[in-house]
C-alpha cells in the first residue's frame, strides 16, 4: 500500500517537473531560434530562415546595435545601484524591501526640488559641477533618512515575525510613500532643468557615439560601487554587516550592535538608491510619484539575477538586465515576428526574472545568504 502511495506521489510530482522542463525547453528554443534568426538577418538578410517569421526585418546596423548596448549599460548601472539596496537588506534581514523603489523615487524627487532651486538661483548654469554635487548630496541625505525611518517604524517591530509579514508591510510602506509624494507634489511630471551642452553632447569613445550623460551615469555608478565595496570588505562596519548577515545571534554575542548595523545597512542601501535617483533624473530628466515602482521591481529582478545577497552580483545583474531589456526585444522578439516590440520592454524584464528562477534559482553568480535564510 505504502509503495503504491509512494509511486503515485512520485508520479504526481514529476508531472509538474515535466511541465517545468517543457517550459524550459520551449523558452530556450525560442531564445536560440530568435538569436539565430537575428544572426541570419545580419549575415544574409534574404535567407529563408531569417525571413521565416518576419520577412520585413532587416536586422540592425552596427551603430544601432552599439546604441542599444550603451543605453542598456547606463540603464543597467542604475538598476544595479538600486539592486544593491535590495541585496543588502535581503542579505541581512532576509526579506524583500518592496519600498526600496520608493526610496529611489524620493531621491529623484528631492534632487528635482534642489535642482529647480539651484536653477532659479543661477548656480545650475554657472557652476554645474558644484550643483551636481549638491543635488547628489541632498538626494543621498533624503533617501538615507527615508530608508532609516521606514526601518525604524515599519520593519524593526516585525523582525522576528514570519517572513511574509515584513514583505506585506513593505508593500504598504511603498504605497504610502508613493501616494504621500502624490499628495505633496501633485500628479504632474516634473522636469529636471536642462543639462549644460558640454555634458549632454554626443561623444565618440572607441568608435561608439555616446551621449555624455550616459558616460557620467556609468562613471558615477562605478565610483559608488567602488566605495561600497570598500565599505563592506575593508572596514570594521562592513565586517559587522557581513557578520550580521551570516548570523544575527552570534554576531551580537561577538559584541556587534545588531540594531545599529541593520540601520547602517538600510542607510547605505538608501544612499545608493539616492545616487541612482539622481542618475535617473539626469538621464530621463523627469520624475513623477510613480517613478520608483517599475525600476524598483526591475532592480529586485537584477538582484535575483545576480544572486541575492551578493553585491558584485547585484551590480552585474543590473547591467545584465539593463542590456537584456534593451537588446532582447530587437534581437529575439523582432526576428520571431512580434510587432511593436518596444512595448514589451518591461515584459522582457519580468520574463528574465522568471527564466532565471527557472534555470538557476540562486542567480548567475550565486547567493550569499546565511543558512537560515536559505530555507
Amino acid at each position: 500500500m505504502s509503495e503504491i502511495l509512494k509511486k503515485k506521489s512520485k508520479n504526481r510530482v514529476s508531472g509538474v517537473d515535466r511541465f517545468l522542463n517543457f517550459i524550459r525547453v520551449v523558452m530556450a528554443t525560442l531564445i536560440v531560434v530568435g538569436v539565430l534568426a537575428f544572426i541570419g538577418q545580419q549575415i544574409w538578410p534574404e535567407n529563408p530562415f531569417a525571413e521565416w517569421r518576419n520577412p520585413d526585418a532587416r536586422g540592425l546596423t552596427g551603430d544601432q546595435f552599439k546604441g542599444l548596448i550603451v543605453s542598456g549599460l547606463s540603464q543597467g548601472a542604475m538598476y544595479g545601484l538600486i539592486a544593491l539596496g535590495y541585496s543588502m537588506v535581503y542579505g541581512v534581514l532576509g526579506f524583500i524591501n518592496f519600498a526600496h523603489g520608493e526610496v529611489f523615487m524620493v531621491g529623484t524627487m528631492s534632487g528635482w526640488i534642489m535642482s529647480e532651486k539651484l536653477n532659479d538661483a543661477g548656480l545650475w548654469e554657472s557652476n554645474f559641477i558644484l550643483s551636481l554635487f549638491l543635488i547628489i548630496f541632498v538626494a543621498i541625505a533624503t533617501s538615507t533618512i527615508t530608508a532609516i525611518i521606514t526601518e525604524r517604524i515599519a520593519y524593526r517591530p516585525l523582525r522576528n515575525s514570519p517572513r511574509l509579514i515584513p514583505l506585506i508591510t513593505s508593500i504598504g510602506v511603498s504605497f504610502f510613500i508613493q501616494n504621500a509624494a502624490l499628495g505633496l507634489f501633485g500628479p504632474t511630471s516634473k522636469g529636471y532643468p536642462r543639462l549644460p551642452e558640454w555634458l549632454s553632447k554626443q561623444r565618440s569613445i572607441l568608435t561608439v557615439e555616446v551621449a555624455g550623460t550616459k558616460i557620467l551615469v556609468v562613471i558615477v555608478a562605478a565610483l559608488s560601487m567602488g566605495g561600497l565595496w570598500y565599505l563592506v570588505e575593508r572596514t570594521q562596519t562592513g565586517r559587522a554587516m557581513r557578520a550580521v548577515a551570516e548570523d544575527k545571534e552570534i554576531a551580537s554575542l561577538m559584541g556587534i550592535n545588531v540594531n545599529r548595523t541593520i540601520v547602517i545597512t538600510f542607510g547605505v542601501g538608501g544612499a545608493m538608491a539616492g545616487v541612482g535617483g539622481i542618475l535617473w533624473g539626469l538621464l530621463f530628466r523627469s520624475v513623477t510619484h510613480m517613478t520608483g515602482f517599475l525600476p524598483g521591481i526591475k532592480a529586485f529582478t537584477a538582484a535575483v539575477v545576480g544572486g541575492i545577497g551578493n553585491m558584485g552580483g547585484a551590480m552585474a545583474g543590473g547591467v545584465f538586465l539593463g542590456s537584456a531589456e534593451s537588446i532582447a526585444p530587437m534581437v529575439i522578439l523582432e526576428p520571431l515576428g512580434v510587432p511593436g516590440v518596444s512595448q514589451l520592454k518591461d515584459a522582457v524584464a519580468f520574463t528574465v526574472l522568471v527564466l532565471v528562477l527557472l534555470f538557476k534559482p540562486s542567480g548567475l553568480f550565486g547567493e550569499r545568504l546565511s543558512q537560515e535564510d536559505r530555507a
Binding site: 508593500i171 504610502f176 501616494n179 521591481i297 528562477l357
Partner: protein, 596 residues
C-alpha cells in the same frame, strides 16, 4: 491586570524627553496631513453641519491618539506601575499642545514664505482653512486650545471607568458612522417612504444637524448604560454552552438571514447605492478567491489581477460582437464555461513555475506575471486578438430569460454578483474544513512539516491557485458584462494590492473577515477606480490603504475578524511566554483562542 498599588506620580514628575518626542511626532503628522492635502480636499464633506467637516476630523484625531499613546503605561510582569493621576493628564496635554504648535508654525510659514513650487498644498486655501478665515491669532488660539483639550482627553481615556469609555466610544463612532452612511440612509428612507426620518437627522446640504447630533450622541451613549454589558455576557454564555454542531447550525442561520436581508434590500435602494453594493460584491468575490490563496494556503500572490483580467477578457472575446478575433457571439453561460477553462489554465500556468519558490520570491514572480499579462493585453502583438489599448467594447449584458443583467440596471448586477458571492462563500466554507483546506493550512504553517506528514504540497498549492483563479475570473466576467467593455487599464497591479489589503484587514483565512473587510473598505473608501461612500477620498484612497496595511501588520496581523488558528500562529511567541510564566494562564488563553 493593572498593578496599581503605587501612588500616582507627582504632577511635574514627567518623562519630558518622551513627551517632547511624541509631541513633535504629533506635530509632524499634523503638518504632514495638512500638506498632503487631506483637510483641503475633504473639507467638502460635512459631517456635522457648520461644525465639523471630514477635513477637520483628519486633523483633530491626531492629538487625541497621541495623548492616549503618550500616557499609556507599559505593563510588565512583576513591575508595579504608579497609579494614573493628573500627571498623566498633563503629559497628554503637553503632547497636544506641541501638536497645536506644529500647526501654528505651519500657518506662520504659509503666511511668510512661498513654498508653493514644490509643495502643492502650501497655498492660501489651506491657510484659510487653518485660520478659519479669522487671522492667525484666532487660528493659533483654536488649535493650541483644541490640542490641549484633545490631548488631555486622550490621556484621560486611561483613567475613566470602562463604562464611561464605552459610552464615549459608542457616541463618537455611532455619530461618525451615521454621518458617513448619509447617502445610504437617505436612499433607504426614500425607498421605505420614511423621508421624514432622514430629513430630521440630516441637513439639506449634507451633514448631520447639530441638534440631532447631540440627541443621537446622548441616545447612543445611553445604550451601554442600559445594557451594562449584558448582551456580551449572554453571547459568551451562549457560545460556551452550545454544542459545536448547534453553533454551526446557528452560523448557517445567521448567514441565511444576512442573505435574505441582501435579497430584499436592493428593492428599497436607489441606483447609486446598488451600484456601490455591486462593486463591493465584485471585490468580495475577488477577495474570497485571494483569501484561499493567501489566507488558507499562505501563497502571497501579488499578480492576482491576472486572473481577474483573464475572466474579463475571455467573456469579452466570447460575447462581444466587437471582439476582433472571435466573431460568433455566445451566451454568457457558455462563455462562463470558457472562463472557467481559461482561468484554470492560467492558474496552472502561473502556478507551476512558482510552486517551488520561497514565499517572497513567489510574491515578486507572481507580480511579474501579473504585469506581463497586462502588458500582453496592451501590446500590438496581441492586438488582432484582444484589441490592444482600445480594449474590447460593446459587451452585451447577461440574458437570463425573463431578466437581463446589464450595467445600466445596478440592481440586476447586484443580484448576479450576490449569486456568485454566495457560491464563492459556500465553496470556501466547505473547502476550509475539507482535507484540501486542512492541507493548505498545514502548508501555510510549515511546508516541510506538511510534506513530511504526507501532504502532496505541489498539488495542494496548484489547487489553491486554480480555485483562486476561477473565483477571480468570475468576478472579471461579471465586471465585463457590467461595464460593457474591457481595457488593459482596468487590470493594473493596484487591484491586486487593494484586494490584498481587504483580505488582510478583514482577517486572513476568515470568510466573515473578508466580507467585513470588503464591505468596510470598498464600501466606504472605494475600489481602484470605483468610488465608495466617501467619494472625496478618491485621491487619497491609496495613501490610506498603504497606511492601513502597515498599521494592521504592526498591531493586528490577524485582521479584524481573525480565525483562532491564524491568531495562534501569529502570536506563537506570546503564547509560549504565557505558558512559561504560568501554566494555568496559558490554558485559559488557549481556550479563549479556540472560542474566537
Amino acid at each position: 491586570m493593572m498593578s496599581t498599588s503605587l501612588a500616582p506620580r507627582k504632577l511635574f514628575d514627567q518623562n519630558w524627553k518622551r513627551i517632547i518626542f511624541w509631541g513633535s511626532i504629533c506635530a509632524l503628522s499634523q503638518v504632514f496631513i495638512c500638506l498632503v492635502g487631506l483637510p483641503a480636499e475633504l473639507d467638502r464633506r460635512i459631517l456635522i453641519k457648520s461644525t465639523l467637516s471630514l477635513g477637520y476630523l483628519f486633523i483633530i484625531w491626531v492629538p487625541l491618539v497621541f495623548g492616549y499613546v503618550v500616557s499609556k503605561m507599559v505593563e510588565l510582569e512583576g513591575i508595579e506601575n504608579p497609579k494614573p493621576g493628573p500627571a498623566d493628564l498633563l503629559s497628554g496635554a503637553v503632547t497636544g499642545l506641541l501638536g497645536g504648535l506644529g500647526l501654528v508654525i505651519l500657518m506662520l510659514g504659509i503666511d511668510n514664505f512661498d513654498l508653493r513650487d514644490p509643495l502643492l498644498n502650501w497655498n492660501p486655501r489651506l491657510f484659510r482653512l487653518l485660520t478659519f478665515e479669522n487671522g492667525i491669532g484666532f487660528g493659533s488660539m483654536v488649535w493650541l486650545l483644541s490640542g490641549v483639550g484633545l490631548g488631555t482627553l486622550g490621556a484621560a481615556l486611561h483613567q475613566m471607568t470602562s463604562r464611561i469609555r464605552k459610552m464615549i466610544a459608542y457616541a463618537t463612532f455611532g455619530l461618525f458612522i451615521l454621518a458617513v452612511l448619509e447617502d445610504v440612509i437617505d436612499d433607504l428612507s426614500e425607498g421605505l417612504r420614511l423621508e421624514w426620518l432622514s430629513d430630521m437627522i440630516y441637513d439639506k446640504k449634507g451633514g448631520v444637524t447639530v441638534t440631532s447630533a447631540i440627541v443621537i450622541a446622548v441616545v447612543l451613549a445611553l445604550i451601554p448604560m442600559v445594557t451594562r454589558g449584558k448582551i456580551k455576557e449572554k453571547v459568551t454564555q451562549y457560545r460556551s454552552n452550545e454544542e459545536p454542531g448547534d453553533q454551526q447550525r446557528n452560523s448557517i442561520i445567521l448567514f441565511a438571514l444576512v442573505a435574505v436581508v441582501f435579497l430584499v434590500l436592493p428593492w428599497f435602494l436607489g441606483g447609486i447605492v446598488n451600484e456601490l453594493l455591486a462593486n463591493v460584491g465584485l471585490f468580495l468575490l475577488l477577495a474570497l478567491g485571494l483569501n484561499i490563496v493567501v489566507g488558507l494556503a499562505g501563497l502571497l500572490d501579488l499578480g492576482y489581477v491576472a486572473f481577474f483580467a483573464v475572466g474579463g477578457y475571455t467573456t469579452a472575446v466570447f460575447t462581444s460582437p466587437n471582439s476582433p478575433w472571435f466573431s460568433p457571439e455566445t451566451h454568457f453561460g457558455i462563455s462562463l464555461l470558457a472562463v472557467v477553462v481559461m482561468a484554470t489554465l492560467a492558474g496552472l500556468l502561473i502556478g507551476a513555475p512558482v510552486i517551488r519558490m520561497r514565499g517572497d520570491y513567489l510574491a515578486i514572480v507572481t507580480l511579474g506575471f501579473g504585469e506581463i499579462i497586462r502588458l500582453l493585453f496592451l501590446s500590438d502583438w496581441l492586438k488582432p486578438y484582444l484589441g490592444g489599448s482600445q480594449g474590447i467594447t460593446n459587451i452585451p449584458g447577461i440574458d437570463l430569460g425573463p431578466w437581463e443583467v446589464r450595467g445600466a440596471d445596478p440592481r440586476s448586477v447586484f443580484y448576479m454578483v450576490l449569486a456568485f458571492c454566495v457560491l464563492a462563500i459556500y465553496v470556501s466554507w466547505r473547502l476550509q474544513g475539507s482535507r484540501l483546506g486542512r492541507a493548505w493550512m498545514a502548508i501555510r504553517e510549515d511546508e516541510s512539516v506538511a510534506e513530511v506528514m504526507g501532504i502532496n504540497t505541489v498539488n495542494s498549492k496548484l489547487m489553491a491557485f486554480v480555485v483562486g483563479a476561477v473565483l477571480a475570473s468570475f468576478s472579471g466576467a461579471v465586471l465585463a458584462a457590467k461595464v460593457g467593455s474591457v481595457f488593459p487599464k482596468s487590470f493594473e497591479i493596484l487591484v491586486s494590492i487593494i484586494i490584498l489589503v481587504v483580505v488582510i484587514v478583514g482577517g486572513m483565512g476568515s470568510i466573515t473577515g473578508v466580507m467585513v473587510g470588503s464591505l468596510v473598505l470598498i464600501g466606504i473608501l472605494g475600489g481602484p477606480r470605483q468610488p465608495g461612500l466617501l467619494q472625496e477620498f478618491q485621491n487619497y484612497k491609496l495613501l490610506i490603504y498603504g497606511a492601513l496595511l502597515v498599521f494592521m501588520m504592526l498591531k493586528r496581523p490577524e485582521g479584524l475578524v481573525p480565525t483562532a488558528r491564524r491568531t495562534r500562529e501569529l502570536h506563537q511567541e506570546e503564547y509560549l511566554q504565557d505558558a512559561w510564566l504560568g501554566d494555568d494562564d496559558s490554558d485559559q488563553q488557549e481556550e479563549a483562542g479556540e472560542r474566537v
